[in-house]
């Protein structure tokens, strides 16, 4: 009991300290803004107002947190066994490609069959997108960070090709997008907002991630690999198989995010279905130290920054990049502080 209390205590303390240090990022960016003749307080107030000041803003925060959570788990699951999956962006697009193929091919299916099929296709597409770098790692020893980064470019370009070529809507007056999906392929949205059924996917993914790690043999073996691959291998844990599995499941979840984006938000495939959700999801996972609950918190936080970034762009004429700078500085701070925490533990 005492031990448990201490563990909770130290966790809370770590989170609090991280929060304090995250404040540092805002100070640094503030100085940066002053340097460029902008008022940082105004900018931060606008981020806050834009994201949380209206019910629309708040609902948009949730809308963005959905793909962020899914992409974060896509990074976190392999990360718990020591793999760095920077590919959720590509895997999201791979899922979207598979879903679009299904939506355009089986246009006339009834909704109760159609939607689950599209979910499955999204999962499958994303899984394939992550299986390839996993296989390269297991069979040829290719570092998965580099291969997932490179595949991001490839898959996004493939989407560009498809929406401007084979899948282009003939009625689009040269706009690069596919025909709109039939209604039976659309995910429901709620409460008159853009919040959609993808939210349930995201929350389920987080719960499943938590339960798997804590309470299954699979999660246990995964954690052993992440902690000491040498000992894991000697204990007969098949590291290669776990690499394929963890990456593919992660990729599948990113693919699901892609499915949700096109089936709920866009209604069709087009370039820019993701405003860097994959990369931001990667950051969410690292900022949350790959912990499930942390992922929820960080996804919402970065969702706030993302919506706020739009609103400073519109009302203050500040570049959206401002919030990217804040995010990457927080990332640096977390990376640096992980060392200190370990050293003092």
């Amino acid at each position: 009991m005492v031990a448990l209390a201490r563990v909770i205590d130290s966790r809370v303390l770590v989170q609090l300290r991280l929060l304090g240090m995250a404040g540092l990022a805002f100070v640094v960016v503030g100085a940066f803004l002053v340097l460029f003749g902008k008022n940082p307080l105004l900018a931060y107030a606008e981020i806050f107002r834009g994201a949380l000041g209206t019910s629309y803003g708040a609902s948009e925060v949730i809308v963005r947190a959905i793909p962020l959570m899914l992409c974060a788990v896509a990074t976190a699951l392999p990360a718990r066994m020591g793999l760095v999956n920077v590919g959720p962006e590509g895997q999201l697009h791979a899922g979207a490609l598979a879903v679009t193929w299904g939506a355009l091919t089986f246009g006339a299916l009834p909704r109760p069959v159609f939607l689950p099929a599209l979910v499955a296709l999204g999962l499958l597409g994303g899984a394939i997108g992550a299986f390839v770098p996993a296989l390269l790692r297991v069979k040829v020893g290719v570092n998965e960070t580099i291969s997932t980064l490179l595949l991001n470019y490839v898959i996004v370009l493939l989407v560009e090709h498809m929406v401007r070529g084979p899948w282009k809507d003939p009625m689009s007056f040269n706009w690069p997008y596919t025909p709109e999906f039939p209604d039976a392929a659309r995910l429901s949205t709620y409460w008159g907002t853009r919040i959609h059924a993808g939210l349930w996917f995201a929350l389920a993914a987080i719960l499943l991630f938590y339960f798997t790690l804590r309470f299954t043999r699979w999660g246990y073996e995964l954690r052993v690999i992440g902690d000491n691959p040498e000992a894991a291998g000697r204990a007969g844990i098949p590291i290669g198989r776990y690499t394929l599995l963890a990456m593919s499941i992660g990729g599948a979840l990113a693919g699901l995010a892609g499915m949700a984006e096109i089936c709920a938000i866009q209604g069709r495939l087009r370039p820019g279905i993701s405003t860097g959700f994959g990369y931001t999801g990667f950051l969410v996972s690292w900022l949350a130290l790959h912990h499930p609950l942390g992922i929820v918190v960080m996804a919402i936080l970065l969702g706030v920054l993302s919506v706020g970034g739009d609103s400073i762009q519109i009302s203050l004429g500040l570049p959206y990049a401002t919030v990217n700078i804040i995010t990457s500085l927080i990332f640096f701070i977390v990376l640096g502080s992980r060392f200190r925490r370990r050293a003092t533990a």
Partner: protein
């Protein structure tokens, strides 16, 4: 002389012309006083042996002397002048050179490049002609020949040690510290090393020789300083002491001789559990090969593998555990051919293992003791599809098991990384023996353990043997092997060079076999 008090004893052995002097060196780490008020003097042209058991504080003292650690108190002076050593480069400047147990050589570099690294006032351009000349010069003077162009990873342990010593000499070191230098050598190579050291001594070098082997001390040292539990017990001249005296100083007032275990009556139908049949593995960079190795271990028997580390013992273990697939031959577990089985399947078949490097190979340091205790019985504690692990129940089961063995294990919720090395080894022994394996492969089962823990480990192994397990112990420590084993297999260069029943053989014979029958080659001084 037979009875020793706890106080330090200084015979009359004042040195004329002290070159290196340590006064009152104290160094503590959280919870440990590694060095306590240590005094030590060595003269020019003298070999001082620093004698102590594992954990007596020898390594800490030497790291203080080499600038790795800063002492909490005390001074170091060289040639009468006090020096402050905050980093190895300070030590090098002060003329101190050190041969570590694990060599400070870069395997991918050539010998010349490694030597160049050690050169003081190295010019901007690497002058390989100059380095070659120095090497030739030193080779003829001290019998330390080395091929300048060979890559270090291609060299044997003895050759690498030679490069280490050459490095110190070219760097201008006047004080040479050698940390357990014979541990990487075969006995016949030891003579060669000693010849070199004597020549160096006669040339005026100051040499500190760290060891725990009495025989070597008597063979090479001029004076001997004994450390115990971080303090100097005494300093004696070699000519005024004996191995027995030193042994008493080393361990204090207790029986020095290794305990011998009473053998359990062999089961009448000696059932062979492990059988390795004519196994060969090709040697590769950084790993020894195996050549036609055959051995077997019966139920209720402890089989020992003796050999200098790196002669194929690790590879034998890897083959038995299914981590290395042999090019030739078979491995049988109770007459089942397991040669191509996966590690997981072999472990599940009732094979336990204590790996060479427990912290690196045997545990996940970030996970708790409980989580680590179930590592090799995952399917038993998380049965079926493994979809629900009841950690509370698992913890209770582990607690019960620990109680059964009457052993103290630190709190089960602690991460294993926070435990001491001895406790990690204890955890491993308990984990593997607690599984009641048919076969236990134990590498260096007492490495890093203190005397009490060693005894506990031996008791556990013998008890498991008496309960019917087949145990294969791999060790370098002949005393341990003789104390434990019913049968002994001697390894040299990846082949079995002798199989003995306990009692049929003495340590000298085994030592000779371990090193290839006393052929003199690697370390013999090259003709000048």
């Amino acid at each position: 002389m037979r009875r020793l008090g706890s106080g330090a004893r200084h015979l009359d052995c004042s040195v004329t012309g002290v070159y290196l002097r340590l006064e009152g060196i104290t160094k503590s780490f959280p919870g440990i006083l590694a060095n306590s008020n240590i005094h030590l003097e060595v003269g020019r042209g003298e070999i001082l042996a620093l004698l102590g058991e594992n954990g007596a504080g020898k390594s800490t003292l030497m790291k203080v002397l080499y600038g790795f650690y800063r002492p909490d108190a005390g001074t170091i002076s060289i040639d009468g002048r006090p020096v402050v050593l905050d980093s190895p480069s300070d030590a090098i400047r002060a003329g101190i050179g050190m041969v570590f147990q694990s060599f400070m050589l870069i395997p991918a570099f050539s010998v010349a490049e490694n030597i160049a690294l050690a050169l003081p006032r190295l010019g901007v351009w690497l002058d390989s002609g100059q380095i070659r000349e120095r090497l030739r010069d030193l080779a003829s003077r001290y019998g330390l020949a080395a091929d300048a162009d060979a890559k270090v990873w291609q060299l044997s342990g003895g050759e690498q040690q030679r490069v280490e010593i050459l490095k110190l000499l070219v760097s201008g070191a006047r004080i040479l510290i050698l940390d357990e230098p014979t541990s990487v050598l075969a006995p016949h190579e030891v003579d060669g090393l000693f010849t070199v050291l004597r020549t160096l001594r006669d040339d005026g070098y100051t040499i500190v020789f760290i060891t725990h082997k009495l025989r070597e001390v008597m063979a090479i040292a001029d004076r001997i300083t004994v450390l115990r539990k971080g303090s100097v017990v005494g300093t004696v001249p070699r000519d005024g002491t004996s191995e027995e005296d030193l042994a008493e100083m080393l361990v204090g007032l207790r029986d020095v001789r290794a305990t011998s275990f009473s053998r359990a009556a062999q089961a009448s139908e000696a059932r062979t559990v492990l059988s390795v049949d004519d196994v060969s593995v090709r040697g590769e960079r950084g790993r020894a090969g195996l050549s036609h190795v055959s051995l077997h271990v019966d139920a209720g028997e402890i089989g020992g593998v003796a050999g200098v580390t790196g002669n194929g013992q690790s590879e034998l273990g890897e083959v038995v555990l299914g981590r290395l697939s042999p090019d030739h031959g078979h491995v049988y577990l109770e007459d089942v051919d397991v040669t191509r089985w996966s590690t997981a399947k072999i472990l599940a078949h009732g094979v336990g293992v204590i790996p060479e490097d427990p912290l690196r190979m045997g545990v996940a340091p970030g996970l708790t003791v409980t989580e680590n205790m179930v590592l090799n019985e995952r399917r038993r504690f998380m049965p079926g599809a493994g979809l629900y692990a009841d950690w509370r129940a698992i913890r209770r089961a582990i607690e019960a098991r620990i109680e059964n063995f009457g052993l103290a294990i630190p709190r089960l919720t602690l991460p294993v990384g926070t435990l001491s090395g001895g406790n990690v080894q204890r955890l491993l022994l308990l984990r593997e023996i607690g599984r009641r394996p048919k076969l236990l492969v134990a590498f260096y089962p007492t490495r890093g353990l203190d005397i009490a823990a060693t005894r506990m480990a031996h008791d556990l192994l013998v008890a498991a043997r008496n309960a019917g397990a087949a145990i294969l112990v791999v060790s370098e420590d002949l005393d341990e092997l003789f104390a434990l084993c019913d049968r002994l297999v001697v390894f040299s260069r990846g082949t079995v060079v002798g199989t003995f029943k306990s009692g049929d053989v003495d340590a000298v014979e085994v030592g000779l076999r371990m090193t290839g029958g006393g052929k003199r080659e690697a370390w013999s001084p090259s003709p000048a």
